[in-house]
């Protein structure tokens, strides 16, 4: 069941990319607003950057639970 749901999410995510070509931004101001399915790119790059940031942060800021005791 869980695997099926995961598979469905991945399928929908992939399918949403071509659908994005048919949906235009109403008020495109910056150049990226004109790129089709830009939110998909934001989603992937954003998640990657955040996970990278948490990995870097935890490498030096992660201490034992009783650190301040």
């Amino acid at each position: 069941m869980r695997k099926m749901l995961k598979g469905l999410l991945i399928l929908l995510a992939v399918l949403s990319i071509p659908v994005g070509f048919f949906i235009k931004h109403e008020h495109a101001v910056f150049f990226w607003d004109k790129i089709p399915s830009i939110e998909a790119i934001f989603g992937v790059i954003g998640a990657f950057l955040l996970i990278l940031a948490t990995a870097i942060l935890s490498s030096f800021a992660q201490k034992k639970e009783d650190f301040y005791d």
Binding site: K6, L9, I10, L12, A13, S16, I17, V19, G20, I23, K24, H25, E26, H27, V29, F30, D33, S37, I38, E39, A40, F42, G43, V44, G46, A47, F48, L49, L50, I51, A53, T54, A55, L57, S58, A61, Q62, K63, K64, E65, D66, F67, Y68
Partner: protein, 587 residues
């Protein structure tokens, strides 16, 4: 016609009467107070009333405009819902602290001058700390002290700023500030309550350690009065706009690493308040409306998140994600309301966060601030990831060791009503748009690109979560924040006071005691002082000379050296008698 009363008075005076009610009557009473306050606020009309002269200045307790009204409405609504959530609490002290906290927050909102604003601001800090201390464990006590220390610092900065501003401008009106020394002091005071980075540490430190019901109140009032004060005095400042962007990203990065459920939520307050601060900082009509709409919506879904996680902690005793899991089947109502709150904070279409977050991001685009727009989008991705993590590890991951049942009825009812509000505003945002500070704003949240863009963003971020789940699995750990520097600085200060400074103090004390002793002895008979000093110096010199010359034979005893010659005393007595006789006979 009866004049409407400042809503703060209902809660502040209402708090005094709580101990006089018992049992069910008390429960009815504490629900009636916010209901009456809400009826009162409906009768408030724009303008200034309840003005009193103090030292030549006008103290204004009820300054009403669209901005104060919209914040006042939501403060009273959430006050009612949070009181309903805490209806089962037996300690009067908690109710009194909560009433005074809500009342003083309303006092800030309707204050028309800086003096009364400051007074309510400080009452807010003092009363809110009791909602932490009522948890009555060592961690809460310590966190409460750190909380109040930070707020005292912010309060002192605010007061200094207000005094300098008042002296230089000759006015105490709450108006847009002009750059200067007072400007920065007041900004630090407001910024501390708004959790500006790096003076935000009191928030994720103290809020997870409050009582179950107290944290719901805490999540609402302090930071939002800060945002309100910024909207009054600092709207349209680029520094504040970018500070908002930094807060939004900073909050989600730290939230992703947390294991304590309420600490995760606390970091999300920093992040979400960042959106509001960005909106206020951009300063256009759309952005200020967006910021205030986000205050309204955030209060609802954040209180709901604290309520749902509070229910989990109340029923299971587990605070950490590593100890939770599988609660969806035991607590279905809590799980559903949590999902509604999570979708709302993430900004999913059909939920209230979608509307206000969209307004702020659209205003950043409108103001041509591309970096800020990207920061806010990045924070959206992080928010979604955090709540997928929180929901997954609290409610859906397998945990055979856990079992629970639903929270008490009053807690469930409060959560259901709050969840309904999130969905209602999400589907029918006009009700919120109609009460925002700027009335003539055209913003259409439900455009195809906005709806599709958000769904696509979430789907791809969701896929990233599946692929990188191992990276965000909660661990039993402490993540150091800027509070490391404050705590270490504090410890350094204590060391400085107890070791070197204390040693210096005791040395000084010994030296001064000896000096006093010597002076006291000499004062008994001051006549031979000169002689003793001469002898002392002579002894030191001769000793030194002997030491240098290598001559170490024993000193010869000279009886006249130490004997006090009686002749000096006799001579002085004769001089005195002669002088006395001379004066007597001549005059």
């Amino acid at each position: 016609m009866i004049k409407a009363i400042p809503p703060a008075f209902f809660f502040i005076l209402g708090a005094m009467l709580i101990p006089f009610f018992k049992g069910k009557l008390k429960q009815v009473y504490i629900l009636v107070v916010p209901a009456v306050a809400f009826l009162d606020i409906l009768y408030l009309t724009p303008g200034t009333s309840w003005v009193y002269n103090f030292l030549g200045y006008d103290l204004i307790f009820c300054q009403v405009d669209r901005l104060s009204l919209v914040v006042g409405y939501i403060f009273i609504i959430i006050g009612f819902l949070a009181i309903l959530y805490s209806l089962h609490v037996k300690q009067d002290g908690q109710h009194i602290a909560a009433f005074l906290y809500v009342g003083s927050s309303l006092g800030v909102v309707f204050a028309g001058d800086l003096f009364s604003l400051f007074a309510f601001w400080e009452i807010m800090a003092v009363t809110s700390v009791f909602l932490i201390w009522f948890q009555k464990d060592k961690e809460s006590l310590n966190a409460g002290f750190r909380y109040i220390l930070m707020h005292i610092f912010g309060g002192c900065s605010l007061l200094a700023g207000i005094i300098i501003y008042t002296v230089s401008k000759g006015s105490i009106s709450v108006v847009q500030m002009q750059p200067g020394f007072a400007y920065w002091l007041i900004l630090i005071g407001f910024g501390l309550n708004t959790a500006f980075i790096p003076i935000h540490t009191w928030l994720p430190d103290a809020y997870p350690k409050g009582t179950i019901t107290g944290s719901v109140f805490l999540s609402v009032f302090t930071t939002k009065t800060g945002v309100y004060a910024l909207a009054r005095c600092f709207a349209g400042t680029d520094f504040i706009a970018y500070m908002g962007g930094i807060m939004a990203v900073y909050g989600v990065i730290f939230a992703l690493l947390q294991n304590d459920a309420r600490r995760l939520l606390a970091y999300h307050i920093v992040s979400q308040v960042g959106y509001m601060v960005a909106g206020i900082g951009i300063g256009t009509a759309l952005s200020v409306n967006g910021g205030i709409a986000h205050v309204f919506n955030h209060i609802l879904y954040k209180a709901l998140l604290f309520m749902s996680m509070g229910s989990v902690i109340y029923m299971t005793g587990k605070r950490k994600l590593t100890e939770m899991g599988g609660l969806a089947k035991f607590m279905p109502v809590t799980c559903v309301v949590f999902l509604i709150a999570a979708l709302s904070i993430s900004g999913a279409p059909g939920f209230n966060g979608f509307v206000s977050k969209g307004m702020i991001i659209a205003s950043a685009v409108e103001a041509h601030m591309p970096v800020l727009e990207l920061m806010l989008i990045l924070a959206s991705v992080g928010t979604f990831l955090s709540f997928v993590k929180l929901g997954y590890f609290a409610f859906f991951t397998k945990n055979p060791e856990i079992s629970s049942r639903e929270a008490p009825f009053n807690m469930q009812l409060s959560m259901i009503l709050t969840a309904f509000s999130c969905v209602f505003i999400g589907l029918y945002p006009k009700i919120l748009f109609d009460i925002l500070p700027y009335s003539v704003i055209h913003y259409h949240p439900f455009t195809p690109s906005h709806i599709f863009g958000v769904i696509q963003l979430f789907m791809l971020a969701g896929v990233a979560f599946i692929l990188a789940k191992a990276m965000v699995v909660p661990h039993r750990a402490t993540i150091l924040d800027f509070d490391y520097f404050y705590r270490m600085g504090g410890r350094g200060l204590i060391w400085l006071s107890t070791v070197p400074m204390s040693s210096f103090r005791s040395t000084l004390q010994v030296r001064f005691s000896r000096a006093v002793y010597i002076i006291a002895r000499l004062a008994k008979n001051p006549i031979p002082i000169l002689e003793i000093i001469t002898a002392y110096v002579y002894l030191r010199i001769t000793k030194g000379v002997r030491y240098v010359s290598g001559f170490s034979s024993g000193e010869t005893y000279d009886e006249d050296l130490y004997r006090r010659p009686i002749g000096v005393g006799v001579l002085l007595a004769i001089i005195f008698l002669f002088t006395f006789a001379l004066i007597y006979f001549i005059f």
